[in-house]
Structure formats: C-alpha cells, structure tokens
Amino acid sequence: MRAALLLTLLLAGCATEETLTVELRPPRAADGGPALPIEAERVEVRLVRKELGECPTAAEAAASAPSGTLAHVQSFPIAEGMGRAIGETPSGRWALSALVRDASCGVLLYGCTLTRLEDAGGAIVVELEPVSIPETCGCRECDGAGACGPEERVCE
C-alpha cells in the first residue's frame, strides 16, 4: 500500500508544463521588420483541432466554415501587436491560422500552420502571405473595425 502511495506521489509530481510562443510573421519590409498593409486593422487567430486533414483555406477560415473542432478564436487590433494568451491546450495535432483583416473585414494576409504540439519545439510560427478576399465573416457580422462577431461562431 505504501509503495502504491509513493508511486502515485512520484508520478503526480513529475508533470511538466511547456509554454509555446505563437509568432505571426507578415512579409518583411526592406529593413527586415514586418510589412503590414496600411489598411490592416485587426488579426483574427483561430485554433482548430485537426487530427486528420489539412489547414483550412483562407476563404474557409475567413468565413468560419466547419473545419475540425474550433477550440479557440480571438481577434486583436494590429496596433496592439499582440493578443491574449490562448492557454492550456491538449496535446495532438492542431491547425493555427491567422487572418489580417481591414476595417470592412476583407482579408489582406493569411497563414496557417499545422503542428503537433509534442513536436512544436517551443514555438508555433505562422507565416502570413498576401491574399485578397473581400469582406467576409461567413454567418458572423463585421463590426466595421475589422472584427467578426460572435468570434466563436462556426458557420454551416
């Protein structure tokens, strides 16, 4: 009985925690800094469980079309440069996508990275590429400042 209790305590104490940074990388300017379109207003970040399949396309992500299980979504102003922490996420394979929107919710930049958290190596990097998708929020509504709401709604 003592051995079982000790084993329990030993194993329970050995849980580890790994923080993964999330980097959104727009195209580079001549000076090496991020080159964001002047119309860019907000960034929408979407985290989708994807044990199978590929990243959603820019159009699918922009319209919040069903693609895996949506676990987290947030939108933050470009001017702030950083969103809020995504938080604890179960291990497994995930698609992390980011959309840079203008005020009318058109998509200017899009990127998506498929990663298995166990293999992420400390950081998840999403390379953003220019796209041109006119105003689209799917079944959500654009607030006129680049945010689609309700954020977490998935559009059928």
């Binding site: 084993l7 030993l10 194993l11 104490g13 990388r25």
Partner: protein, 246 residues
C-alpha cells in the same frame, strides 16, 4: 527510502506550480461566484469552462443554464439560445421564471446510428438538438477516424468491416461532448498465460478471502488504480502564449 524521498522532492520541484490550479474545478469556481452575486466573474468563468472544450452533460447543460440566467440579468449573450441548449442537453432541468421558453423538449439531444448491414454505410444523425448546438461529429472505429461537420442533415460513413463497431461523438463549437452513440471495439486482450489457478492452490473449502491469490489480486488492483491516477496527472501540458506579430 532516502532515494525515494529525494526523487519525490526533485519531481515536485520540477513540476509546475500550476498543477493544483489546472486541476481546479472551473464550474465549481463559477458556481461559487454566481452564488455570491459576482456575476461578471461568474460569466467569465462559465465562458472559460465552455471554451475549454472539456465539458459533457450534465456539466455542459449546467453551464448553458447559468449563461442563460446571466444573459437574462442583462449580461451579454442570448438567454433564449443558452436556455434551449441547456434543455436539449438535460430536459429535466428546472428553469427559473425569467427563462420561460415556448416549447420544452421531452427528449435529450442524442446521436442516432442507422446500421443496415455489416458492409453497408452507416447513417449518422443527431436528433432533438436545436440549431447550432452540435457542430461536429467525430466517428471512430478500430484504425478509422472521421470528422464530419453537422449541418442538420443526416450523414453517412462507410468504415471498413474491420473498423466496426464505431463510436460517434457529437461535439459543440468548442469541442464539448453533447452526445455519443455506438462503441468502438476494445483492443484485443492478450491470451492468458497458463499457470496455477487460485483454485489449484486454495482448498475447495477455503473461503476466498483466506486465499493468498485473493490478496495478490487486491494488491494488483490497488497498484493499478494508483498508477492510473498518477499517470492522469503526468505528461506534458502545453500552454499556448499570446499570439504576437514579429
């Protein structure tokens, strides 16, 4: 014993301080905040629990009910929508007067499988779920996995015979479990090794509790449970930081 104590200390030092926090009951904290009238805190905690994707009925029904009550108190969100979700998950829930809805469901939301043969496609649908509650159907069998979006129309899956039986889980937009049906086949059990049986060593008239094999079994069960509990708290937890433009 010294070595064990040192190992224990080492592991506890290396373990994240958030271990206790991670195991805290988010609904319990939200309930406490709600009962104490801290409605903003309660709503934040209920939403965090909802967005965790780890809920299942009846906890999920409870969260939707509370969000409906908070919405009716003037918070953000749609009271009617949350109330309908709560009742679809648990039709026996008692609604406060502020949340009276027109039609109360008589049956809970559920997954229905239509199986016509061993090789025929399997029909999958969700019954008695209000629009928007179920978003995704996860289908799993032996070596078989599909994720289907749910738009209210019956779907079909055609797993190979060796992948059957299947299990289907209906999930909401956050990955919380709404309902499930079917059952995936368990992994094959290893062949039992030949060896002495308890009956062979214990006399026929010996009560089971006096047999040494009985206590060996009890010991194995205790150790197995301990290891299972411990393993559930081990491994790596991943914390995703705030996304930033670099």
């Amino acid at each position: 014993m010294r070595v064990a104590t040192a190992l224990l200390a080492l592991c506890l030092t290396a373990a994240p301080a958030a271990l206790g926090a991670a195991q805290a009951d988010p609904i319990g904290e939200a309930e406490a905040a709600f009962e104490e009238g801290r409605h903003e805190d309660a709503e934040r905690l209920y939403r965090a629990a909802l967005e965790s994707g780890r809920l299942a009925p009846p906890g999920l029904a409870r969260v939707h009910l509370r969000l409906a009550e908070l919405a009716a108190l003037g918070s953000t969100g749609a009271a009617d929508r949350h109330a309908r979700f709560a009742l679809a998950l648990d039709p026996s829930l008692a609604l406060p007067e502020t949340l009276a809805i027109d039609a109360r469901p008589t049956r809970a939301a559920r997954v229905v499988l239509e199986i016509s043969g061993d090789d025929a496609p399997i029909g999958v649908r969700v019954a008695d779920a209000p629009d928007g509650l179920v978003r995704v159907l996860e289908v799993r069998g032996a070596g078989f996995e599909r994720t289907l979006s749910w738009d209210g129309e019956a779907r079909e899956v055609d797993p190979p015979a060796e992948a059957r039986p299947i299990e289907v889980r209906a999930l909401d937009a956050h990955g919380n479990l709404v309902a499930q049906a079917g059952r995936a086949a368990p992994p094959p059990e290893p062949e039992p090794e030949p060896g002495p049986t308890p009956e062979a060593t214990a006399g026929e008239d010996t009560p089971a509790i006096e047999s040494p094999w009985f206590w060996v079994g009890v010991g194995l069960v205790v150790v197995g449970v301990a290891v299972a509990i411990a393993l559930s708290a081990t491994g790596t937890r991943y914390l995703l930081d705030a996304p930033g433009i670099r």
